[in-house]
């Protein structure tokens, strides 16, 4: 079949995401990594749009692109260990092994992704639309229990963040 615009666009995004993610883990500067992270997250969000899950894309942009990255940048500011700005390598001694292991895992996972016959009858070649109302219905009706637990989880995280990060006198 002839390649259409969407496909081209997808490939552009895919390559971009991979590049940005690689940037996150390979860049020599913490800040750059953070920037790259924002990019790659945005890219993944775009992927959600390709998958017709617009709501999730929105969530992705807000939470990741917004909250998380801001947090991370904040943390980076707070933990600048080198005011003099001398660059210590960001990579640990086992970096080369890490490459190997990463490659190995990649092979395994890609192999799985391609070799698996996901449905006996074969996989539909285009995603079906994921409507917002369905999501909400599922989320608040069927999955009420995990939703409640998740709220507790957020509470815990909140408390934890506060009590751990809070300045005490003498600091």
């Amino acid at each position: 079949m002839e390649t259409n615009a969407t496909e081209v666009l997808w490939w552009i995004f895919a390559v971009a995401i991979v590049g940005l993610s690689a940037g996150v883990v390979f860049s020599r500067s913490v800040l750059h990594s953070a920037i790259f992270l924002i990019g790659s997250m945005a890219g993944v969000g775009a992927m959600y749009i390709f998958l017709t899950a617009e709501f999730l894309a929105l969530v992705q942009f807000l939470i990741y692109g917004g909250a998380v990255t801001v947090l991370i940048l904040l943390a980076l500011m707070l933990t600048r260990s080198d005011p003099a700005g001398q660059r210590e390598s960001l990579n640990g001694a086992q970096m080369p092994f890490a490459l190997l292991v990463g490659a190995a895992i990649m092979t395994v996972l890609i192999g799985v992704a391609t070799a698996t016959e996901w449905r006996p009858g074969g996989v539909p070649n285009k995603p079906t639309n994921i409507p917002l109302e369905l999501i909400s219905e599922k989320l608040f009706v069927d999955f009420g229990a995990p939703f409640v637990i998740a709220s507790a989880l957020l509470l815990v995280a909140l408390i934890g963040a506060i009590i751990l990060a809070r300045q005490e006198e003498g600091e």
């Binding site: 990741y64 998380v68 980076l76 640990g92 890490a98 599922k138």
Partner: protein
């Protein structure tokens, strides 16, 4: 249209990059970023499966929502801990955070 495999392979690549990051980086924050990458890959997986294979229940999408939530919370908590460590040790380098060993 784009087949499912593409999404899966893409997420696999992101995931592996994240794994690499966790293994290679020394800065706690960077490790967290790598973990975020991995979680992204996961949610991409979920949504892809939901969209392609599970259109009527779309459980995967719901899962993705939870993953994102947890991820956000995790980052918050982890960063708090990193800051705590930084306050105590003036470093966020995990290699130096090794007084307990053996």
């Amino acid at each position: 249209m784009v087949p499912l495999e593409n999404y899966l392979v893409l997420s696999a690549i992101i995931f592996s990059l994240g794994v690499y990051g966790v293994l290679a980086r020394r800065n706690a924050v960077l490790i967290l970023m790598s973990v975020e990458l991995m979680l992204n890959a996961v949610s991409l997986n979920f949504i892809a499966f939901a969209a392609y294979l599970d259109p009527d229940k779309i459980t995967g999408a719901i899962f993705a929502v939870f993953v994102i939530t947890v991820a956000a919370a995790e980052v918050g908590l982890a960063l708090a801990i990193v800051i705590r460590l930084f306050r105590n040790r003036a470093t966020s380098n995990v290699d130096e955070a090794a007084i307990m060993k053996w």
